[in-house]
């Protein structure tokens, strides 16, 4: 970290907590960066000449006579094509050896976009996963998380989606990533031959939790550069936002803030919104930022403050669940939702898409009801049995995450499933499309 000449130096700390330290200093600016014993820190509170610094790497071993140097600048990153293919840590320093060019960068955590300068998202992002493309179509400029339990393969699914999504750039922000997952992402991107499109900012479980707080800003400032300056379609992957929120609560706790629901800081909603709202579609062929995130759940509990606040901010959620009938991991058709799909389905995809989607889910719901009936010991009708057979096939061929199909094949597959299990009256789709698409 470069230190300017005449930088202010201090050597007497008044207080040390596990994440912060306090000293007497003057002429200090709010949110200014400092080095405390060589560790990066940021000003989080000033009261007269008492300055509180948040030390990202923690304060273990810190002496009360440590040297504090104020740097006179704010978190920033030099963004440009030189970052492509690179894996960086939470300070924007290379994890992969080769040094980066020095120099002043773009300030992180910039202001939000003026709503009147945004365009309405309108381009579908096809992922090849039928459970997403058919039922929860993604749209450029959208922000959507995977809700998944820790034992589910969310990082693998996300990597798969990222590779198929035909984005100009993929920015990965890893927070509390296991070292194994970090290696997995690196290998997957290398093997797919897309390193020239990737930039990754990684904080692993080996690193300090508070450092994670820097990752989303690094990733999104980089994304803004490519989307706004270069007009590119940028996909940002953020995993795992639950661990990010946990880091927020650690800092809030050290700052003596009163916790609200589930020990989370009262500002959790605003803190998460600041990140997710960076997703954006610019008008007239301009670039876009699409955010795909992971929020891990505790046993599927979406009422916890982190998924709950996330759900109110993001434009839907993709819910991973293990299906007991087929043993497959599926994209849950009931609990998943892409709020922006209405803008593209049947318009940018084939005309029958909305009705096929809704009808299949209705029939799948009938099967669920039949199953409950059966489990409760009531008799099932012929219709019930056909519905259940349909649901099993639909789960295997559409919902399971190990299937890859293009959009037209997805629709064709579903029409075939309709015809195999139901009469046209039971399917009851608009006559025009029944005539056109019902398999003869």
């Amino acid at each position: 970290m470069e230190i300017r000449p005449f930088a202010k130096r201090f050597t007497q700390l008044e207080d040390i907590t596990r994440a912060t330290c306090t000293l007497r200093a003057s002429g200090v600016h709010n949110e200014e960066l400092a080095l405390v014993d060589g560790q990066l820190a940021q000003v989080v509170r000033i009261k007269k000449d008492i300055v509180t610094l948040q030390i990202f790497a923690g304060t273990e071993g810190l002496s009360n006579q440590a040297e504090v140097v104020f740097l006179g600048r704010y978190p920033n990153l030099r963004v440009g094509p030189h970052l492509l293919g690179r894996f960086l840590n939470a300070y924007g320093q290379p994890l992969d050896g080769a040094p980066l060019p020095e120099g002043e960068g773009t300030e992180l955590g910039g202001p939000s976009a003026n709503p009147v300068r945004r365009a309405q998202p309108s381009e579908p992002i096809l992922t090849g996963l039928p459970g997403i493309d058919l039922n929860n179509t993604l749209v450029g400029g959208q922000k959507i998380p995977f809700f998944a339990d820790p034992d589910q393969p969310y990082n693998e699914v996300m990597a798969m989606v990222a590779l198929r999504a035909k984005a100009d750039r993929i920015i990965l922000g890893g927070m509390g990533l296991s070292y194994d997952d970090y290696v997995y992402f690196r290998q997957t991107f290398r093997e797919a031959g897309v390193l020239d499109r990737i930039i990754a900012f990684i904080n692993t479980t080996q690193d300090q939790p508070v450092e994670r707080l820097l990752i989303p800003d690094l990733a999104l400032t980089t994304a803004e550069h490519f989307a706004v300056e270069q007009g590119e379609k940028v996909l940002v992957l953020l995993t795992d936002m639950t661990l990010y929120a946990d880091a927020l609560s650690i800092v809030a706790n050290r700052m003596d803030q009163i916790p609200s629901k589930d020990s989370m800081p009262g500002s959790l909603y605003s803190d998460l919104a600041r990140i997710y709202e960076k997703s954006l579609q610019l008008p007239e062929g301009g670039g876009s930022i699409t955010i795909l995130a992971v929020t891990t759940l505790n046993q599927g509990d979406i009422t916890h403050a982190i998924p709950d606040n996330t759900g109110y901010i993001t434009e839907g959620q993709l819910f991973l669940r293990k299906d007991s009938d087929t043993g497959k991991i599926i994209i849950d058709p009931f609990r998943s939702l892409s709020r922006l799909k209405q803008l593209v389905i049947g318009k940018k995809t084939r005309e029958d898409h909305p009705q096929v989607m809704n009808t299949a889910i209705r029939l799948y719901a009938d099967a669920q009801e039949a199953r409950t009936k059966k489990e409760n010991g009531f008799e099932t009708t012929d219709y019930d049995q056909r519905a259940m057979a349909f649901a099993t096939a639909y789960t295997r061929e559409i919902l399971a995450i190990d299937v890859t199909l293009d959009m037209d094949t997805i629709l064709e597959t579903v029409w075939n499933l309709f015809a195999a299990h139901f009469s046209p009256e039971e399917v009851a789709i608009k006559q025009e499309w029944m005539t056109k698409y019902w398999p003869s």
């Binding site: 709010n30 949110e31 009261k47 759900g311």
Partner: protein, 590 residues
Amino acid sequence: MAALTRGTVTGITANLVEIRPEGPVRQNEMCTVEAGDAHLLGEVIKVTGDTAFVQVFDSTRGLTVGSPVTFSGERLVVHLGPGILSKKYDGLQNDLDKFEGIFLQRGLSSEPLDADQTWDFTPLAKTGDEVRAGDWLGEVDEHGLPHRIMVPFALEGTWTIRSVVPAGTYTIRDEIAVLVSASGRETPVTMVQTWPVKEPLTVYAHKTRPYKLLETGIRIVDTLHPMLEGGTGFIPGPFGSGKTVLQQALAKQADADVVIVAACGERANEVVEIFTEFPELDDPRTGRSLIDRTVIIANTSSMPVAAREASVYTAMTLAEYYRNMGLRVLLLADSTSRWAQALREMSNRLEDLPGPDAFPMDLSATIARFYSRAGMVGLSNGKTGSVTFIGTVSPAGGNFKEPVTEATRKAARCFYALNQRRADSKRYPAVEPLESYSKYLEYPEFQKYAAEEVSPLWIDHARELANLLLKGKEAGDQINILGDDGVSIDNHLDFWKAELIDFVLLQQDAFDPVDQLCPLPRQDAMSRLVLDICHRHFSFNDFQGVRPYFKRLINSFRQMNYSEWDSPEYHHHYQDLTGILAEQATEMAL
């Protein structure tokens, strides 16, 4: 005018800034804090000893102890005058269209009204008239609405008009009248005035209880839980239950002269949807473009939190201003929970002792006071105006037992509970019919109005439908416990009659061009038809016959809902319906 108080920054915690003023300061006074080149706007929210605590409406990055501050002597005000309609403002009434660049640079502000635009002014008062604050001096045409130019609300006592300009073209800065007080003090009047947002605008003769139905075209609202002009209501619901779709349907369809949408801490893409769609849509009643009657206050979730708190007040003050022109204003705030969270963040930084869930202790009172600004008022000239307020609430975890929902329930008269189970089974709008209520059904003045102006049986229908739904729910519970063949056929009939009401009257397709808006006469006719069926006796040999029979009835009804009222298709499906009903009549005769 006294010299403005200056001061210096002594402390900074996020957007809470401590300032030592060098002179007098007032609670809620606005000030400007200099952070380098940027001038940040802030509001005094607490004074302790020699320190003023200011919430700054912007990022405080780079602020330092000793930064100069200038107090304005004024509270946060909005500018009121022609040109507000169809504007897109932020929470502090900056015109978002006037900002350059993609990103909102901090410390910027823009003029809320267009100083150069000219308006065709017609005087409504003449020289020598005696007037008081709020009286109409003249009017201009604002997108087809009569925008009244009023005597400044801040003037006290009776004034005489010394002069008023003749009909002609003027800008908002031109003097259009001169008033003189009893003591001979003269004051010039232009078309623009200011008002502090946190002070209710009470310049009216009297406030009345609401009594007129506010038509929304949404059956579950109008028919079952009616909202009135000048009424209050709230829509709580977990995420994904269709709050925003319902609010947007209200914004598009409600029979109001002016609609103000406060997007308070919600998604930017939702306001972009309004910006994109409203100019393309026509007001179903006037044929004018929807955007012409709409004002959007966009303080989306990533915009500064303190300004989010201000945004709902800004929106309410604009609503009260148009109300005083004798207009019917609908104010929608999405979501009031985000506003409450903004209050929580500030109270937390002020180190106030927290109430439930760390919200401020006076949350309930703050919410109640805000809802009380809605209402129907009589103006001094005998005309009436109204502000109808509907807020959404985003309860944490979808659980209604949380402070914001509970506090709002005490303040609002209508409750539209969105239900996850209804949303999951795609029964939209997912308003739970039995849990929700409209207290206005009990207002005698509304009962009288509904009987005389809407339909003689409107209120009876609402009550009977609610009863049948309750009966159906109880029957459904019985069936679930005892099994299909463990209950009598009457239980099945009760259950399916409730399903009929649900599918035909309660559910409505917000994306279908016909079904999305159901006018009152059509709602009345549909209620009659459905109730007529509910009154009938049916005979079935066993329960297996009930479900398919009612499914056919429901299907015919739904096709009717999707057809233009009174069109050939409508009658065609109606014929189908009577045919299905006739089968039973024959069955019974046998």
